[in-house]
């Protein structure tokens, strides 16, 4: 994939383009730094959900009719640091799709009727999460991993109390403070000529006010490891998750930890973890590791879903695999396979417009350099196997991790 065309507008917004005419469609992926970390509980979630639900000029119904009459699609999804902006359209519908999108970004209505619908959705989603073994365990774990004073500690959706209280004026004020073009990034991929991008697309985004540039989120300090059990006796399967604070995406050790995560519980059918817990012992349908690295910091997790009678055995097996990262670190052959996996998977991942747009967006978001994709194979090849082993052992250390189990766990003796 060649370098993306990059435009920095006068209002601070950065636009990117990967031109590719192999499919007659355009996908875009963007972000605005208006995630949960920037406001009191729940407000970012409400604001993002209300963004495409009507403007000062057009009702929610008219906005959705106008979008869907074009067979276009738009979405705004709240995250911890930023709100993800997404869209799909064709070259024929690009102009009108952008008109709707920019109108929604600049002048959302925050109408009371829409707010009440969103209140029902958020409340419902929070209640669904409470009854979901995997989501409930992960949410609790993140509360243990990040200290209460850090913005990553709380649920980005807020809680039942915040969902009950948020008013339109709160969302309006949050929007005014955080939805400026400064810090906004939008990447396009697909059937779009550079000339149109530099002209029509840039002109559409130039209409946005600059606003204030986003403040950085503080780096999280790790909490003391802790354990929790969430009893849900009515469920069939138990879930458990272990994890700790890890690294920011821009940290020098990120690439090494990413490769360690791949080898530990992702490559093939979930790496070493999958091999042991699923393949050898037949204890779980899934068991994997994951790394979430954001601008300010991140966390790494190990997750598994198992029959409650196998829970203690699965916990012990996963703990043993974590310890094995120290006693039997990744071999040179494992590291070599992981490197070829990373290089090959980059190529395979970039087969669709939404993934291409997401990749060039992320490169800009994390400041990796416009030639990052070109440099990536060399970055991976140059990784020191020792650093992969060291970061793996450090960040998947069972004694430095917090542990949470959920589901029909009453009476199960757990030794975290």
């Amino acid at each position: 994939m060649k370098e993306a065309v990059r435009l920095k507008l006068g209002n601070g917004a950065v636009l990117l383009l990967h031109e590719d005419h192999s499919n007659p469609s355009i996908a875009f992926r963007g972000s605005v730094r208006a995630g949960a970390a920037y406001g009191r509980p729940g407000i970012a979630e409400f604001t993002a959900r209300l963004l495409l639900r009507g403007t000062k000029r057009r009702s929610a119904a008219k906005i959705s009719d106008a979008t869907e009459d074009l067979a276009a699609a738009l979405a705004a999804t709240n995250g911890m640091e930023s709100v993800a902006l997404e869209g799909r359209c064709t070259r024929e519908t690009l102009k009108e799709t952008l008109r709707i999108f920019i109108e929604s970004l600049a002048t959302p209505a925050f109408a009371p009727a829409e707010l009440e619908k969103v209140r029902g959705e958020v409340t419902g989603d929070l209640r669904a999460q409470e009854d979901d073994t995997r989501r409930a365990a992960t949410r609790r774990l993140l509360e243990l991993v990040y200290p209460p004073s850090h913005p990553y500690h709380a649920d980005p959706k807020g809680d039942a109390r915040s969902a009950a209280k948020i008013q339109a004026k709160d969302a309006r004020a949050f929007h005014a403070a955080h939805y400026g073009a400064a810090g906004m990034i939008v990447a396009f991929s697909g059937d779009l000529e550079t000339e149109t991008f530099r002209g029509l697309v840039a002109a559409a985004f130039e209409r946005l006010d600059s606003g204030e540039p986003p403040n950085p989120v503080p780096t999280p300090k790790p909490s003391k490891p802790a354990n929790a059990v969430i009893a849900m006796p009515h469920k069939s399967q138990a879930d458990f998750v272990a994890g700790r604070v890890a690294l920011a995406r821009t940290h020098p050790d990120y690439q090494a930890l990413n490769l360690a995560t791949i080898l530990f519980g992702r490559i093939g059918l979930y790496g070493r973890l999958g091999q042991k817990v699923r393949d050898d012992l037949g204890l779980a349908y899934y068991s994997f590791s994951s790394l979430e690295a954001r601008l300010a910091g991140g966390h790494c997790l190990v997750s598994a879903g198992v029959n409650p009678k196998n829970l203690a055995q699965a916990v012990a097996a996963i703990r043993a695999e974590m310890e094995r990262l120290r006693t039997e670190p990744f071999s040179d052959a494992e590291v070599r396979d992981g490197k070829t996996h990373l290089i090959g998977s980059l190529q395979v991942t970039l087969e669709r417009n939404p993934e291409n747009a997401a990749a060039i967006h992320d490169i800009e978001y994390y400041g990796l350099g416009n030639d990052y994709l070109e440099r990536y194979p060399e970055i991976v090849r140059g990784l020191d196997p020792e650093s992969v082993r060291k970061t793996g052992a450090e960040y998947y250390d069972p004694d430095a991790s917090s542990w949470v189990a959920s589901g029909p766990v009453k009476g199960v003796r757990l030794s975290f």
Binding site: S22, N23, S25, A61, S64, D65, T67, E68, D69, L70, A71, A73, L74, A75, T77, E86, R88, T90, K117, G120, E121, G124, R127, A128, E130, D131, D132, M232, P233, H234, K235, S236, Q237, I267, G268, L269, D280, L281, G282, A284, Y285, Y286, V306, N307, N310, D337, H341, L342, I343, G344, S345, Q347, V348, L350, E351, R352, N353, P354, E355, G407
Partner: protein
């Protein structure tokens, strides 16, 4: 883009979708075997066989598929459905042979090591139990169980737990030998390759396999439903859910096009494939009638498009404090109201455009093309895929009204409700 179609002497159907600019090649093999081919006692066997086919055999040792594809940075997976089983690898363009080799070994040489099949029992049961944790899964299982008395759509793809506890290695291996043969399969290549070169390679990997005598086609027809059926699942939970199903014809039937247009009018359209993304359609009758009126927090409609006559379903999550009966009534007003209030000209135009444009989104990339062409070929015919979207453009208001009249009738519907009980959180 044209689809190049070939058939090997042993009956293997090969579809080629060359995409010279693509950064990958996607290798798909679909087998015309799904849970519809099982019998009571071995429900879940198709899905279990799928799991076993990642465990090596022939040139592949256990773990080789994961490590070979993983090393190359490829994507791979398998899916079992009521009507088919599908496997794929998406790989860098120079690695077509790897995908073909894996699929050839999978077709005829799987090991079915008894120890492995026993170990997999725990994994399969764990997968089923993970699904049981979800109220929506339980509701869906109840729906199909109730709507089909005779046809194998009666049981879930993952199988009943009692069968999963008893199925033997020999049950699985016999099932595999019977159904995994070139004359019961389709191979689809999408992405960067040269067609004639690819065909030579396909011939070298698959050409020597012998065809197998296939069991006679499934001769089970679900009798017409003669009255509403109702089911309830009462379990601890935090949200109520409503699901409504109507019997509709098979994918290959001429009414599929009007039913898809009807689906778009009723519940919006987000494409045929799994790659629709997180976009919520709001300009449709169900959203306006249920979510806008604060009765539900989400709602969807779907024609399941199966090999045999299946279901058109509507699903809604009940908003907190709302009586599920009200949601059901509102949904029925919208669905069956189509008979009294047929789609407007604007609704028809929107539906037709969405079906056409989302088809382009659906075909973005080799993996997406491989999935759609394999699915349609094993469930009906790949020619139906492009033809179906063209046919949808010609559907009239009268056609939509006719199918609404024909299928959205009280005597043909099944209504299931998940009623969340205390203790769910």
């Amino acid at each position: 883009m044209e689809t190049i179609t070939r058939t090997l002497d042993n009956g293997l159907t090969v579809l080629l979708r060359p995409m010279p600019e693509a950064p990958a090649v996607s290798v798909w093999v679909g087998y015309k075997v799904g849970s519809r081919n099982e019998r009571p006692g071995i429900t879940g066997a198709t899905h279990w066989v799928e799991h076993m086919l990642f465990k090596g055999g022939g040139k592949l040792k256990k773990g080789d598929i994961d490590s070979i594809v993983g090393r190359l940075g490829g994507k791979f997976n398998g899916f079992t459905d009521t009507d088919f089983t599908i496997y794929f690898e998406t790989l860098p363009p120079g690695d077509l042979d790897t995908g073909l080799m894996i699929e050839a070994e999978r077709m005829r040489n799987a090991a079915f090591d008894p120890q492995e099949s026993d170990a997999e029992r725990g994994v399969i049961i764990s997968e089923r139990e993970g699904s049981e944790n979800s109220p929506k899964y339980l509701l869906s299982e109840e729906m199909w169980h109730l709507a089909f008395h005779v046809h194998p759509y009666h049981w879930p793809v993952v199988g009943w737990k009692i069968d999963l506890e008893r199925i033997t290695r020999n049950d699985l291996y016999t099932y595999y030998l019977q159904h995994y043969a070139p004359n019961n399969a389709v191979l689809v290549l999408a992405g960067k390759f040269e067609p004639e070169d690819a065909m030579r390679r396909v011939e070298s990997y698959f050409g020597l396999f012998r065809p197998e005598t296939q069991p006679p086609p499934l001769a089970v027809t679900e009798p017409a439903q003669e009255g509403e059926r109702r089911g309830e699942v009462r379990r601890p939970g935090t949200q109520d859910h409503v699901m409504i199903g109507y019997h509709v014809p098979a994918l290959a039937h001429a009414d599929t096009a009007p039913l898809l247009v009807l689906q778009a009018v009723l519940g919006g359209w987000r494409g045929l494939s799994l790659f629709g993304g997180g976009f919520v359609p709001r300009s449709n009758r169900l959203y306006r009638g249920l979510v806008d009126k604060k009765l539900a927090t989400d709602v969807s409609a779907q024609h399941r498009m199966q090999a045999d006559p299946g279901l058109f379903t509507i699903e809604a999550t009940v908003r907190e404090g709302v009586d599920p009966a009200k949601v059901e009534t509102a949904a029925l007003e919208e669905v069956e109201g189509l008979r009294r209030k047929p789609p407007t000209k604007e609704e028809m135009a929107r539906a037709a455009r969405q079906l056409r444009v989302w088809h382009a989104y659906d075909l973005d990339g080799p993996t997406a093309q491989g999935l759609l062409y394999t699915w349609f070929e094993v469930a009906a015919s790949h020619t139906l895929l492009d033809d179906l979207i063209d046919r949808c453009q010609k559907v009239t208001t009268a056609d939509v009204r006719r199918v609404a009249d024909a299928y959205f009738d009280e005597t043909n519907r099944t209504v299931c409700t998940f009623l969340a009980q205390e203790g769910g959180s």
